[in-house]
């Protein structure tokens, strides 16, 4: 797998994950610290289907979509909704998602042990990279991950701009109280956003082991990149999240690669998350509202005025 190809695959997955995080932040106003665990949940669905039934991970994408969606919706219904009803503030909600992350980590550890016993293969760490086949001169994972993100965006665009439910959803993000008065069921839109967030993360998780090894700490590390992508995008803009995913994904891969070539030290390749962190810090210092918060017209006018 070439460097640029790898970077593109990673960016595709990061865009999916950041999109999910941003969706739930827009409707529920809580950054979901369990988004990384949602993704690894999908990885384990793919692993189970592959090891037990020999189903290729690409074919398990729809199953992962549904199950991941149920996980997301369940998290909302069982944890966040009751807390919001009790009038919990944003910090309480964030702590609740941290707790959810820990619970999922515990179940993952137990499940990996059981699956390992059944299949007689270690399941704490795994990769699907041996399944990658070249198609038209590029690795098929690049095509599949691109296809997933394109279909997701088309579907989302159709849903948000061409259906009544989409209008209701956008209205409830814009002004929840007013849209409730107009007869929009805000609860339903929130539940839907959590379903979609879990489903997208789970699909990204199915494809993630093609690119990098899944280890017990994967969920905790990937969350840094997801947050970086969303923050670059402004944390409440769908287009921003997608763009942020590509900016962070490409910079993580390409900057570390460039530095490792220049310095001749291949050990630098593992420090991708440092790039993410720098991106977060720079964004917060220069444009805290991210790309979506910058008034581009003003910037262009200022540039041409010079």
């Amino acid at each position: 797998m070439g460097v640029v190809e790898g970077a593109l695959i990673y960016s595709n997955l990061l865009a999916l994950l950041a999109l999910g995080l941003t969706l739930t932040y827009m409707t529920t106003a809580v950054p979901n610290f369990a988004q990384g665990s949602f993704a690894v949940f999908g990885s384990y669905i793919a692993l189970t289907l592959l090891r037990l039934f020999g189903i290729h991970p690409y074919k398990s994408l729809p199953i992962a979509f549904v199950l991941g969606g149920l996980l997301g919706a369940g998290s909302y219904l069982l944890i966040l909704k009751p807390l919001i009803r009790r009038g919990a503030n944003v910090v309480t909600l964030m702590i609740a998602t941290l707790a959810l992350d820990l619970i999922l980590l515990g179940f993952r550890g137990i499940y990996a042990g059981i699956l390992g016993k059944i299949t007689r293969q270690p399941c704490e760490m795994f990769m699907f990279s041996y399944l990658v086949k070249p198609v038209f001169g590029v690795p098929d994972i690049l095509l599949v991950s691109s296809l997933v993100i394109v279909l997701t965006l088309l579907g989302l665009f159709f849903l948000l701009y061409k259906t009544k439910f989409g209008i209701a959803l956008r209205a409830s993000v814009e002004n929840p109280m007013l849209s409730e008065i107009m007869g929009v069921d805000v609860e339903k839109t929130r539940l839907f956003s959590w379903f979609l967030s879990g489903a997208l993360a789970s699909m990204a998780g199915v494809l993630l082991p093609f690119k990098q090894e899944i280890v017990p700490a994967t969920a905790e590390l990937v969350i840094v990149s997801i947050f970086a992508s969303s923050i670059v995008g402004g944390l409440s803009s769908i287009a921003g999240a997608i763009l942020g995913g590509y900016i962070v994904g490409m910079s993580e891969s390409l900057i570390t690669y460039y530095l490792s070539v220049v310095t001749g030290n291949a050990g630098l390749l593992v420090y991708g998350k440092v790039v993410s962190l720098v991106i977060i810090v720079v964004t917060l210092l220069v444009a805290p509202r991210g790309l979506a918060g910058i008034r581009w017209r003003k910037v262009i006018r200022w540039r041409s005025g010079r």
Partner: protein, 344 residues
């Protein structure tokens, strides 16, 4: 004497968690900073002990080479030195603690700089991201604390017989925890403590009274991180090693999530509650650990106890958030000297 080892274990974690949770309580309970990167300051303490102090001792003792081999040479030499004269051990111990306090405070102040002006959610995300990234760098980079191999830390209490070494360390940790409690109780009862609560309750009012909120947050983080770094050093005196892979696997859960659990269990903004929370948590943790073989065999599953503990404590956190968000001992209203006089 299994029961005694259970009790010393409980006291060990109780002491360490009192220090870390009290420091988090100043940041979160009093000042309202959701420090989701608390683990960073504990890890900084461990790095000061394993990385920085080892290097200083290597220079002082003329030991050459990289940190992994150098640390074992230094530990051996320091241990013999301390055996010959206990005073060296005590002085070195104080140097370790003071250095951790200073470096922890500096790191804490720098740590919050990018996000000090931001809202709670951005603040939490940034602090978590910084802590995770630093943990990862420690894990991969062999220069800091030896990456996969880890480094040794000298036994500064080698003059004490090996049979009671463990109990001595636990005693020192408990004394430190007590001192931290007294100091923090003085601080939060002072006008500065009331200022912190003011920032937590309403930033804008504090600004209107001419207070610099960003400045207060930076100072609070410096205080909290410095204290938590002491816990990191004390932990290395117990294990006598620094292993970055344990930062990676346990850092966030043990030193960010569990302190939050303790604070919410005991009662945020209330140091006595935090001490109670630490005691309950440490006891529960050790009991599960003590009976883990029975539990695992009762479940008929190939399960490691640590996963069960994660699920147990995750669910406990949710239950607290649902049913007792103010904790076991709720925060009391402030009673200043003039109010007391008026009442009597």
């Amino acid at each position: 004497m299994e029961i005694w080892s259970l009790i010393t274990n409980i006291l060990l974690w109780f002491g360490l968690y009192v220090i870390v949770s009290l420091s988090l309580n100043v940041e979160y309970g009093y000042c309202g900073i959701p420090n989701f990167g608390k683990a960073l300051s504990v890890i900084v303490g461990a790095v000061v002990a394993g990385g920085l102090m080892t290097r200083i001792l290597m220079v002082a003792m003329g030991v050459h080479g990289d940190i992994i081999t150098g640390s074992s040479a230094v530990s051996g030499e320091v241990t013999t030195l301390v055996k010959s004269n206990p005073l060296y051990g005590i002085v070195l111990f104080l140097v370790y603690i003071i250095l951790a306090l200073i470096i922890g405070a500096v790191v804490g102040a720098v740590f919050i700089l990018p996000s000090a002006r931001l809202k709670e959610d951005y603040l939490a995300i940034t602090l978590l991201a910084i802590a995770e990234t630093f943990t990862m760098v420690c894990y991969y980079n062999p220069v800091i604390v030896g990456s996969y191999y880890g480094v040794s830390v000298p036994n500064l209490f080698a003059f004490i017989p090996a049979s009671v070494r463990y109990q001595t360390i636990v005693g020192i940790i408990l004394i430190t925890a007590f001192v931290v409690y007294i100091v923090l109780e003085r601080i939060v009862e002072s006008p500065y403590g009331r200022l912190l609560r003011g920032v937590r309750e309403n930033e804008d009012v504090m600004k209107a009274y001419g207070r610099n909120v960003m400045n207060i947050r930076i100072k609070t983080m410096a205080l909290g991180s410095g204290i938590a770094a002491i816990a990191g050093v004390l932990l290395t005196f117990y294990t006598l090693r620094v292993q970055p892979d344990s930062f990676m696997n346990y850092g966030r859960t043990f030193w960010t999530f569990f302190p939050f659990l303790i604070i919410l269990l005991g009662g945020a903004g209330n140091n006595r509650g935090v001490v109670l929370g630490s005691l309950i948590f440490a006891t529960l943790w050790e009991l599960v650990d003590f009976y883990k073989d029975n539990i695992v065999s009762a479940l008929h599953l190939p399960v490691e106890a640590v996963w069960l503990e994660y699920i147990l404590f995750g669910v406990l956190m949710l239950l607290i958030l649902f049913y007792k968000p103010e904790g076991l001992i709720p925060e009391k209203p402030i009673v200043t000297e003039p109010i007391k006089r008026k009442k009597s």
